[in-house]
Symmetry: C2
Subunit: 585 residues, 2 copies
Amino acid sequence: MYLEKINGPKDVKTLSLQELTALAQEMREALFHRLTKTGGHFGPNFGMVEATIAMHYVFDSPTDKFVFDVSHQTYPHKMLTGRAYGYLDETRFYEISGYSNPDESEHDFFTIGHTSTSVSLATGLAKGRDVTGGKENIIAVIGDGSLSGGEALEGLDFAGEMKSNLIVVVNDNEQSIAENHGGLYKNLKELRDTNGTASNNLFRAMGLDYIYQEEGNNIAKLIETFQKVKDIDHPIVVHIHTQKGKGYALAERNREDWHWCMPFDRETGKPTISFEGEDYSALSGAFILKKMKEDSSVVFVTAAVPDNVGFPKENREKAGKQFVDVGIAEEQAVAMCSGIAKNGGKAIFGTNATFIQRTYDQFSQDVCINGSPITTIINYTSVMGLGDVTHLGIYTISMLSNIPELVYLSPTCKEEYLAMLAWSIDQQEHPVVISIPGNGVHPARYPVAADYSQINRYQVCEQGSDVAILALGDFFQLGEEAAEEIMRRTGKNVTLINPRFASGLDEDLLEELKQQHRCIVTLEDGILDGGFGQRVAAFYGSSETKVLNFGLKKAFYDRYDVMELMKKNHLTPAQIAEDVIDLLG
Amino acid sequence: MYLEKINGPKDVKTLSLQELTALAQEMREALFHRLTKTGGHFGPNFGMVEATIAMHYVFDSPTDKFVFDVSHQTYPHKMLTGRAYGYLDETRFYEISGYSNPDESEHDFFTIGHTSTSVSLATGLAKGRDVTGGKENIIAVIGDGSLSGGEALEGLDFAGEMKSNLIVVVNDNEQSIAENHGGLYKNLKELRDTNGTASNNLFRAMGLDYIYQEEGNNIAKLIETFQKVKDIDHPIVVHIHTQKGKGYALAERNREDWHWCMPFDRETGKPTISFEGEDYSALSGAFILKKMKEDSSVVFVTAAVPDNVGFPKENREKAGKQFVDVGIAEEQAVAMCSGIAKNGGKAIFGTNATFIQRTYDQFSQDVCINGSPITTIINYTSVMGLGDVTHLGIYTISMLSNIPELVYLSPTCKEEYLAMLAWSIDQQEHPVVISIPGNGVHPARYPVAADYSQINRYQVCEQGSDVAILALGDFFQLGEEAAEEIMRRTGKNVTLINPRFASGLDEDLLEELKQQHRCIVTLEDGILDGGFGQRVAAFYGSSETKVLNFGLKKAFYDRYDVMELMKKNHLTPAQIAEDVIDLLG
């Protein structure tokens, strides 16, 4: 076995072509070994085995520097840079993250998880090299799906003006997460169809040199190609045509389903774990499809993650022209929604919280200044959502709720989520974002309003005294539990409030609470800084009423245990009750 | 005179070619009339006179819908849509904003001030039309400079996949604000040089149809061109070659200086008003140039606004390869800086606050998660800065200060600004942003630290009791005045604190303040929501200490009078003193 003996790239360079081919086979087996048990990004890694071997054979990492876009295709790179144990030894799987990670290895330069950043980061490495007298190769590896993102296009355009070494490997497997969307993919096809010779060429049009390699899973051809561009004195695109999911027939056939996988059975391809019951993706999709049928002006827009927000293939087909996937292009998505709303349509945008970060300016300028009544549903805003440091949603309230005119709704249960969605789609007054609940599908325990047009009107669910708990969104159930705990320990009824609006204060209610409450508790599923609770604390700053804010400390967290993190942040019902009782004395 | 009689586009359509030519001349005179007195965007408007006439001659606004990128070139459009008085009648200049504005006219669909948004917004109008059964033309007008922005490139790529009417007029005057930067400009030149026939074509590579018109200031040719594409059933780019600043020799020769102008004398081109004394742009430029000379690894990066942040042409020449203008591409700028820092360089990024909004994700992902010690200097963060609703900087603290790991410094005077800059450039621990003071160049009245490595350590400037004022950044002088007023009225010394760090709390100091202070006052030059003061209020939420936060109410403000807005937000020294004395009882 070769893979076990590879401690770093220098061990790759000593192998013959035949041995490298055997190594590729071993690497695929190692991928199966890990992915069948842990799940993860399947297609991107199976497709990049040969290219990664060839890259390490030709270039001299870490002197030569690789930057992998999204870095979800770095499993083969990790195997060849001293981290094969993370794929061979089941007891060590969790030592290795799913993305590039400088803490793991000197061969990784950035922690990366968002798309479309590699070229820009690489231009920076190149500029750093140039001002410090370095001579190394800088290599960005970017998938075709990532090319549609604004940062990638800005990066390519900038690179087209550079006058020193930069190699951009475009890993073209003809697929984004779902289908590719955008006119540039027609050009990629033209280039593939002409073996890279088409006279019209996106990369050349951006000022870059270009070569093509059709056999993107042929180690010998790839070595030859990379050797041609090594130490080049100007930027060049190396366009390689690879097979996403190569080596597993099911994944080769169904590239969307096998972009990312759950733990699975290798024989059947079926997931070995499953979730039962309702989920918000399906609920959202079904609800929006129904709205679309009733109203042909309803348009649902996503940016390359249709499946996460209720639009797997069958729903896309049902929606027809009322569904739009803009590809990885959140800026386009949000601005387009504003345009749709200004011309008679009812636009709904859906994506994951972490990707919403790419659209701050579009929310501010294209949407909110213009008062465009678009609806945005945001997945994975919760601490209980995605746990990789690059994919956290816990900054969403802090980021969006302070943009003027934006109404940020935080539903507490299924019925409320759907009611808010129904209201938002049809209203014509406000830009609205709705966080998709992230703590499981809870049924309503309190009456659910149909109309949210009285902005910032909170709902009093239980009337008590002394203590009032404002339990926002996903932390409403935590608020219920904390209230019970306080009541159990003090014998007094606690006021329980569902704020519903993360973006503003119900000043009348807050004023009224002063009368019979000494302590106001806020709970929010996000960082405290810039969030909901601090706004409440400021409201009571000059009064006798005390405020305790509960939420997460402003920080980056990585692959954490949710319960542990909650405890550390004093977010268990017992801890909350303890703090409140302490304060009341 | 024709212009006075034009109440709307239908009046344009009745004129002969000869009359249209006379109209163009009158429009330029009207531009002179206004711009010599008010200043504004010069070059973009003088270049677009003929194209605007032709557009209104051919298309039927407002049924057909124009979206102007940045909308700083809409003066001619405004003249032809019932707003000529804003250019002819000096007493009515201020009724008309410098950007497109739906409140002014049904011919404007969006309030726009940022670049690179027009194509995306137009795709939305087109989609809205398509789902509601409309038939009108949707026309985006975008300058060559705006093409490098990620949102524009995402928009073009998306448009390349559309199957219905969309017309993108690329107004190519061979100039951004300063020079264009990016490889795509080589392709635009190739297209101009070949009368649009070059086989390599950025727009076609993005899937778009394309035609070229070399004579972009020839009304007849433009009419002919627009007539060709009117009612087209698919997206097309109409590339027109215009002369920026056309009709004023000085502006034709010096396109950068005449992109935007102060009020000026038409004979000489000299500004008729001038500012005396030091300004932070010059101070920044001189300081950074000096650092560059001492250390060849220092790189200054801007995104198309070099002049605003200390790098007019002479400084760019001095800086040589240590200066980089990425063009309008803030995402690229910030990510590149991270790369520079990771490969031995010391990266400084400088831009205007309002454009920083386009880089939230890059700060979070490319920079802060990676701990890249880049320095960012941000201009116009103050309420005293740019006053158009699309250009406000008062959201900057709220947006950036809540991103984990980002150190946000708010200097209070010239010496402190330069000391912070010096410290930040050389340190290797933290991503740092520094707001460039926006309330004039003040000399230091208190000792200025050289070292800011003790993150979140505030400076106590005056020790008093009962009341402590935390006066952040540009509102430090306001804090001094408020302190004096309180002392005058109560006879007691007030504690005055320079927080220096907008992004975190000096918890030891805040704890200590509890002993001898009943009231803590926070002042910040920005919106209150998500800002500095609310964090302070939360800290004291459960204590006896009272907190009063002063800052701006979360809202969009447009072309306001600063003193009036300050008063409305209770931000005069007398108002602050009044509130404090009221609270103390």
